[in-house]
């Protein structure tokens, strides 16, 4: 049978963010896949070199709208390590609390998207309704639903009161009941399980070889979690389990995330019940001593890593960000191979892609190009303006 290459994206109804996928198909079967990035670059790494350390916290927050707290925590941890700051325990506990609430909202959002891609829209509407509960909790704590702006260098910016603690425990109790229902539904409902099991296979060896991260890796039966392997904040004091699944498919990824939700509720309750008294932050110097460090963080989508190099001034020499989605792309190509065209949105959604996270580096300039197979921005512009001109004539 003849092989055909079909483009999906950069703009496509099945994709929520711009990315270009090129599928080489033989009939209904995907034989090869290729991913082209670069439609969402904003030049953040370059920009960070011209901003002060404090300004960069808010810049890092804007890398992503879903895991905003992941990027700021990863960044402030690196700067605190460079300055040698000892962050007060209460500050670290509040930081951990917001991390886990963020994981809950991200996993509930993902569960909805996965259910929607699998054609189970009632589950999608249920999970997104419940997600509002955790969004409200985040708003109570930080004043914002998305960009919490709770982190600062040396601690956190807002304290938690007794009334807020009660509200959080109530919300978590409600979410736990709902999640138990979803666990039952998502793993036993025959049509849903039939749709997602066996789809997007990623064997254990391949997952390790291709450096996959987060729930994608754990669903291939690798118990790797930065919170356990490289504990930051107060994760070395908190009891929790690393969730894995051995089915290596989309079903496994659903199971891992639902189990992680339950673990996150446990962590939130532990943090609220064991919140120590004291200061929430200490004063940080404006200038950071010369040095370099690597900071790792378990974001909802997997390992997030920041490399910060300082030069003794108030601006970083280099700030490198690698978001989890970028690390999962090579594994996604492996998952797509030998799958069906109808499974593309499901497999792609199963890594929980966040394209604005993965792309953060460069400004777009339009210059004439010689390439003909892909239409460039300038070619589109030229074509568009030529047609416009003809119309006016």
């Amino acid at each position: 049978m003849k092989k055909i290459t079909i483009p999906i994206g950069p703009q496509h109804p099945a994709l929520k963010e711009p990315i270009s996928l090129r599928m080489t198909i033989e009939g209904e079967v995907i034989k090869d896949a290729d991913i082209r990035l670069g439609y969402n670059h904003r030049g953040i790494e370059k920009l960070a070199e011209s901003k002060t350390y404090i300004q960069n916290i808010y810049l890092m927050e804007r890398i992503c709208g879903i895991c905003s707290h992941s990027h700021t925590t990863c960044y402030v941890q690196a700067v605190e390590a460079l300055c040698g700051l000892e962050v007060p325990k209460r500050g670290l506990y509040i930081r951990t609390l917001v991390s886990e609430l963020e994981r809950i909202h991200s996993h509930l959002l993902w569960l909805g998207v996965a259910a929607h891609e699998a054609g189970f829209d009632s589950l999608f509407m249920y999970t997104w309704r419940d997600r509002e509960v955790v969004m409200d909790l985040l708003e109570i704590i930080s004043g914002n639903r998305v960009h919490y702006a709770i982190n600062t260098i040396g601690g956190v910016r807002r304290d938690i009161s007794e009334q807020q603690k009660e509200k959080i425990l109530e919300g978590i109790e409600f979410l736990r009941k709902r999640t138990e229902y979803y666990t039952n539904l998502g793993t036993t409902e025959p049509t849903f399980v039939a749709r997602i099991s066996g789809v997007g296979k990623l064997p254990k060896e391949k997952a390790i070889e291709l450096c996959a991260v987060g729930p994608t890796l754990r669903a291939s039966d690798v118990a790797s979690d930065i919170r356990k392997d490289d504990p930051y904040a107060v994760y070395d004091e908190i009891p929790f389990d690393v969730c894995t699944a051995d089915t290596c498919d989309v079903l496994g990824r659903v199971v891992v995330r639902v189990k992680e939700l339950i673990e996150s509720y446990k962590i939130v309750e532990f943090v609220i019940k064991n919140l120590p008294a004291g200061e929430i932050k200490i004063k940080a110097p404006r200038k950071v001593p010369e040095g370099e460090t690597v900071s790792r963080y378990e974001a909802p989508r997997g390992e997030n890593i920041h490399y910060v190099k300082s030069n003794g001034t108030d601006k970083p020499e280099r700030l490198k960000v690698r978001a989890p989605t970028l690390a999962n792309y090579p594994a996604t190509i492996e998952m797509l191979k030998n799958g069906f065209v109808a499974d593309i949105p499901l497999i792609f959604a199963a890594i929980d892609p966040c394209i604005c996270c993965a792309e953060r580096v460069v400004e777009l300039i339009d210059v004439k190009s010689g390439r003909s197979d892909i239409m460039t921005f300038s070619e589109i512009k030229r074509k568009y303006f030529c047609e416009k001109k003809r119309e006016t004539l």
Partner: protein, 157 residues
């Protein structure tokens, strides 16, 4: 095995291929090697010390030379392998034969720092647009962003 034992074992195994090894804080190791030994060092680290996971590859331009940092990780520590290359002839060998997951990061440093990755299986652009002018590498320190002159079609002169 704790971190100190790990460092000692790495020293014994790799010998004079290591130019410098230090551990500034807990669970962080920085190792410096030369470009010729890079692939060997990463292969040894992967096979003997289970550094299977490559977190990312960072490039730093310090105006004298480029530093390329390979951030590896196992369950004990995060290890950064550093190589320095000249600005006039920035070439590093590919490590895709050892860690296939490195491909996107290698394409990224090719794009943004203009470092030639020798033997890379897929040399296409990753993040920059296809019509990006040759010889412009945004993450180099001497590169300045020049916004293109804005032209409004049909504008009165």
């Amino acid at each position: 095995m704790n971190q100190q034992e790990l460092i000692e074992k790495i020293k014994n195994e790799l010998g004079d291929k290591i130019l410098e090894i230090k551990s500034p804080s807990a669970r962080r190791i920085f190792l410096t090697t030369s470009t010729e030994n890079l692939v060997d060092v990463i292969k040894k680290l992967k096979d003997c010390f289970s550094f299977h996971h490559l977190s990312t590859i960072s490039g730093v331009d310090n105006l004298k030379e480029f530093e390329i940092l390979y951030h590896l990780a196992n369950n004990i520590a995060s290890l950064t392998v550093r190589v320095s290359i000249s600005r006039e002839n920035p070439v590093v060998p590919t490590i895709c034969s050892v860690i296939p997951g490195a491909i996107l990061y290698e394409r990224e440093i090719q794009d943004l720092l203009g470092i030639k990755v020798d033997g890379i299986p897929d040399p296409r652009r990753l993040v920059l647009p296809d019509d990006w002018p040759e010889g412009n590498y945004p993450l180099r320190k001497d590169w300045k962003y020049q916004p293109p002159e804005e032209k409004i079609p049909g504008e009165k002169k």
